[in-house]
Symmetry: C2
Subunit: 218 residues, 2 copies
């Protein structure tokens, strides 16, 4: 089984409004297994920016750790992102969710002027330097254009978000729910997922398409 | 679209060790949409039995609400189980996770002598009285045999769990990862999912099979 491709998936917590989008994360894992590859989950061992009550949308007076909460999606099988080593993997994949814009970066608050967490940036750059493909769903392309200068991505159709992507130097293309945009230079594959109005089947199809393109770029 | 079948899915929190198993919950939602039906999520508005750190397995000194945490899987679109009305749905589906045995009942602590939360029991009985099908994944069949006397189910292959099912009056059959057991009298469809050693693709296939059988029993 030594030729089984290995894909690292980076989670930003557990829940669309303050962490990883759960459907996108789960469908990414499913897509990897359907494609005949295997996955290892990672998350940064840092505190969440905040905790959102997903029923009301209100902030809760709590503190939660990104790695500990992401472990819920992982059924405990997850590693700190600081232990990620690019040579051990064939691709790197980021599901979306506000956690990408609140925990992995501060894009939710600073838009094009955001900063990406150092270990996230290091993981992406290490893969790029080894010419290995990178996938980003939903809002995750926002941090890719901060790390990979002038990258071509899709992030849905919301004008204000596209504006921030372009201000950050990204080349934005609008696609439909399940389509992907491929930047051949960076081997970067993006798909809008829940950045467009989508149902859970379209999320599964979008994740399948991203993983298929990652496999083709290996 | 008035002939679109509607399936109510009941979540027990968010996370395998203290709530709903996230993959089983997500794959149930996907299976419903793939089958051409629609879903509405529900969860009881009660406190979790406890909160487990999914990285370490240790109990955490926190309190969380089942409905609020389940809303993470639901992206906010979820209703309190107390508002469930059987005439409005064509089937009722319970994904697994320890939350079923800790929050929806106390099966995790009392086995065959467990008590099932009143509103869970009422929802199941209301569907049975209307001769509508009920699905239960993973550990969820454990509470079905407490509600539906002598029901035929599968719950995996763990001897001690099977023993408790049989002590509770259930008729247990062992199946493989993606297979289902159908009790025609109760229109009850069960599949072992993560009660057996399974990968995420097998969870998706198990959920698909359960939903297909529910649709056939409508």
């Amino acid at each position: 089984m030594s030729d089984t491709k290995k894909i690292a998936i980076v989670l930003a917590g557990c829940g669309v409004y303050d962490g990883a989008e759960i459907h996108e994360a789960t469908m990414s894992m499913l897509a990897v297994v359907k494609a005949g590859a295997s996955y290892q989950l990672f998350a940064p061992d840092i505190m969440q920016h905040h905790v959102i009550n997903h029923l009301t949308g209100d902030e809760m007076p709590e503190q939660r750790n990104v790695l500990v909460e992401a472990a819920r999606i992982a059924r405990g099988n997850i590693k700190p992102l600081s232990s990620f080593r690019a040579p051990e993997f064939d691709a790197l994949l980021f599901p979306g969710g506000f956690g990408v814009a609140k925990n992995l970066s501060d894009f939710a608050f600073k838009g094009a002027n955001c900063q990406v967490k150092h270990e996230v940036e290091q993981a992406v750059l290490a893969m790029y330097q080894l010419q290995k493909p990178i996938g980003a769903l939903c809002i995750a392309p926002a941090i890719m254009v901060k790390i990979l200068e002038g990258a071509t991505v899709t992030i849905g159709s919301e004008a204000s978000t596209i504006d921030q992507i372009e201000k950050a130097g990204g080349d934005h293309h609008i696609t439909s729910q399940t389509e992907v945009v491929v930047d051949q230079t960076y081997k970067l594959v993006t798909s809008p997922c829940y950045m467009l109005n989508a149902n859970i089947l379209e999320i599964a199809q979008g994740a399948d398409n991203v993983v298929k393109h990652l496999m083709a770029l290996m």
